[in-house]
């Protein structure tokens, strides 16, 4: 992947959009509620909601913990879509 990063303030990291299957995995894991998942991974229910709606991207540590909670690999929960155009922002949603 090759990109030019001329402008000041532009991050050299390409823009990444991350979709996830948390909602789907909750239902396949015995209709786990958002609160139950939140308790299991140590976050609040509001954060689970934000994650499911793609409004917040988790840290790498949290992503691993969520995948572990479902007993699957991280790539089974989170699917990155990497664009070659560099992002001006860090890895947070919206």
């Amino acid at each position: 992947m090759e990109a030019s990063y001329g402008a000041i303030g532009e991050s050299p990291v390409p823009k990444v959009q991350i979709s996830n299957r948390i909602r789907e995995l909750r239902f396949t894991a015995g209709e786990l509620t958002q609160q139950a998942l939140a308790d299991r991974v140590g976050i609040t229910r509001q954060t689970v909601i934000a994650l499911e709606q793609g409004k917040y991207y988790p840290s790498l540590e949290l992503a691993f913990v969520i995948a572990e909670a479902f007993g699957v690999g991280i790539e089974d929960v989170f699917q990155p879509q990497i664009n070659s155009r560099p992002s001006k922002r860090s890895g947070r949603a919206s």
């Binding site: 140590g42 609040t44 509001q46 954060t47 409004k55 917040y56 988790p58």
Partner: protein, 167 residues
């Protein structure tokens, strides 16, 4: 709405309810500050105590666990951004205060020198003093900067949660 968002709303409302009337009065009547300062502090404490009691009773997770939910990484991220804004606001307020105070001191000093020159007398150190009234006004503005920075902090937290909720 999460516990931490509600808590930020309570702090924001408490600060506005306690300190808008406080500064409305003390910036006009600076010498009335001592009693009003404690009154504002009591009003703020009362708002926060009432909120936390009501919130503890109303919030299911607090009832079931008996403790306030800890901050997770999203909460911390929102607080970090709000802290940056509050720090910026506080820096601007303090630098502005220092510039205004310095300029005012130069004006007072220049005026004293000019009057002494016109009177043909020696400049006394007392000519450079400022009144207690002016000093109190200056102190109130500095304190106002601190309170505004707190409003920016809690406003930033509320904005962060609202942004996530409505994006």
């Amino acid at each position: 709405m999460s516990f931490h968002e509600k808590s930020a709303w309570a702090c924001l409302v408490g600060i506005v309810v306690a300190y808008v009337p406080y500064f409305t009065v003390v910036l006009r009547f600076p010498m009335a500050a001592i009693g009003l300062f404690w009154l504002a502090a009591i009003v703020l404490s009362a708002v926060l105590v009432v909120f936390h009691i009501v919130n503890a009773i109303a919030t299911k997770s607090i009832r079931s666990r008996g403790e306030v939910p800890p901050l997770d990484e999203l909460d911390q991220s929102i607080e970090l951004k709000a802290s940056k804004w509050a720090g910026l606001v506080l820096s601007i307020a303090v630098v502005t205060w220092i510039l205004v105070a310095t300029y005012s001191a130069l004006l007072v000093g220049g005026s004293a020198l000019e009057q002494a020159k016109l009177a043909g007398s020696e400049v006394s150190t007392s000519a450079f003093s400022i009144s207690v009234f002016s000093a109190m006004v200056a102190i109130h503005w500095l304190f106002a900067g601190f309170v505004i920075a707190n409003v920016a902090y809690y406003g930033g937290i509320v904005w962060g949660y609202r942004r996530i909720a409505s994006a």
